[in-house]
Symmetry: C2
Subunit: 320 residues, 2 copies
């Protein structure tokens, strides 16, 4: 939850005047998203999200992200659509920050994940992968396997203060992942951060996918592995194979898996667990006193990693 940049009424009205959106009726800073400042804006024409991009998002990446959601939305993915000003630009500046307006998506993210949610997610993720295939721009995944060792090195000395033995566990796991990481799986646009708080539902129906600010070009199966970790574990960190089976089988009705993808899934799931374990561990050890955002507990991801380390074959995820 965070509003890092406060936008005044006069600045806002001048900004909105660049669009054909009528008059501003209200504007509320919303306590969602930890990377950027977001406002829910109501005009005489409708509801929109105004985002001011803060320091954690690289400004040079913004055209990729905005172009991507525009591309995906036009292909039928229920994601925010960037609005263009009268000058044609979707990306502009407000209060000294890069800023953009996107359409508002109805719905709420599910706190208690049910199998139906996993089913709808599997279908939507496959549709996203297929729709992204015709997006020309690319962006390497800045948080893939090559990024993990530097993160680990910045945490290694203090990792055992979070959990005894964590440093050794991570060192051994990184050796394994770096030696075995696949090189040639089917790849394309990945969301790469598809946690439940980025997926909205109205009832059981998926109504929107948001927050594409980690989107990148990577293995489709790695994006699925991220979802396995984010959606298919219970609160006590036990793995729910029913949710995984439903998610994966629904996915493959839209985009079938190759054999190589199926075989790679256990390793990708370990990698995905390490990715979030490391970034959370880094934030946990490095967050400033008095920060507006509380870091997430890294140890949930240690439990998930421990599970995947015991997996002997893709059957463990409900794949046949």
């Amino acid at each position: 939850m965070a509003v890092y940049t406060e936008v005044g009424d006069e600045d806002l009205i001048a900004f909105i005047a660049e669009y054909d959106l009528g008059e501003v009726i209200s504007c509320k800073g919303i306590a969602e998203g930890v990377e950027n400042t977001n406002y829910l804006l109501q005009t005489t024409m409708g509801r929109y999200i105004l985002t001011l991009y803060e320091k954690r998002v690289k400004e040079s990446d913004l055209p990729y992200f905005l172009g991507l959601i525009e591309h995906l939305a036009s292909a039928g993915v229920t994601c925010p659509v960037p609005l263009h000003g009268r000058d044609g630009n979707a990306l502009r500046r407000l209060c000294g920050r890069p800023a953009a307006m996107v359409s508002f998506l109805d719905g709420m993210w599910p706190r208690r994940i049910k199998p139906d949610h996993c089913s709808a997610l599997g279908e939507a993720l496959a549709q996203l992968h297929v729709a992204g295939d015709t997006y020309a721009a690319t962006r390497p995944n800045a948080l893939s396997v090559h990024a993990w060792r530097p993160l680990f090195e910045a945490c290694a000395a203090r990792a055992d203060s979070v959990s005894p033995g964590l440093s050794d566990t991570l060192a051994r796991e990184l050796d394994h992942l770096e030696s075995n990481w696949p090189k040639d799986l089917p790849s394309g646009v990945c969301h790469a951060d598809l946690f439940p708080d980025n997926v909205f539902f109205i009832g059981d129906k998926l109504s929107g996918i948001i927050d594409f600010y980690f989107a990148c070009t990577d293995f489709f199966a790695y994006d699925l592995a991220i979802c396995l970790n984010a959606w298919c574990f219970e609160r006590d960190n036990s793995f729910n194979i029913t949710k995984a089976r439903i998610m994966l089988s629904r996915y493959r009705t839209v985009r079938p898996f190759s054999d190589a993808e199926v075989q790679a899934l256990p390793l990708l799931a370990r990698g995905s667990a390490v990715r979030f374990l490391l970034t959370r561990l880094y934030d946990w050890l490095h967050h400033p006193e008095g920060a507006l955002v509380k870091p997430k507990d890294p140890l949930d991801y240690l439990a998930k990693l421990n599970f995947h380390q015991t997996v002997k074959s893709p059957d463990a995820y409900g794949l046949e």
Copy 2:
């Protein structure tokens, strides 16, 4: 800015089912108000504010506050209207906290105060005072003159670390205020916290007054003195007599002043400056590390106090 209590989708849907408000479409925690948790809720029927009352608001005061805004709204004051559930109750519980839903008010609060804002504010405040006259319940002002010495004593030892000499200044000022505080001015319902961020405008038109959680029974002229301090000083803390004159003269077109009120205004302005200086000083010295809310600088109110201490007669506020 703060969302202290996170409300999940299932809890919310069960809560809203107690009302006749249709289906929930979206719900966003909003970064406004420092005392409570507020959500902007959209249903198929309209937009509402859902408030969960946190520890700083006394639960036993809530019926007074909710009854008051219901009373004021029915008398034509543009303030939020509490919604009643099917059982007739406006006050209920959600996620272990007292909670209520109120109507949403359009508009934005003005960051740069213009004389027109002060004029509209003066009229609205007088209307609020008149409308409140028929509200039967009362609530003593817990932050009036008798509350200031205990606050001072909790800060005195460290006050000079914020500004050299502050402790002496406050000690002398409190002696003066306690000896001279009026006893029998016209009194009734006061908002008692009518800062610009609690007053919405659409263009130059005042569209709403919010945040009645300091409302109490006190001198009307003290409420005006709070507004003098909150609305009629420039950012460099210079007093703008034009704004004061406009605010006060517009106020008296709706509710005329007594002579006693006019004569008391300089003292009440000093008292109001001390009230906010002390509460801000207290928060400044006592806020916990890592708090979600940054305390406001108390020294703006020292500058305002210094101005009022030089005032020899009510003429200084543009009163004739």
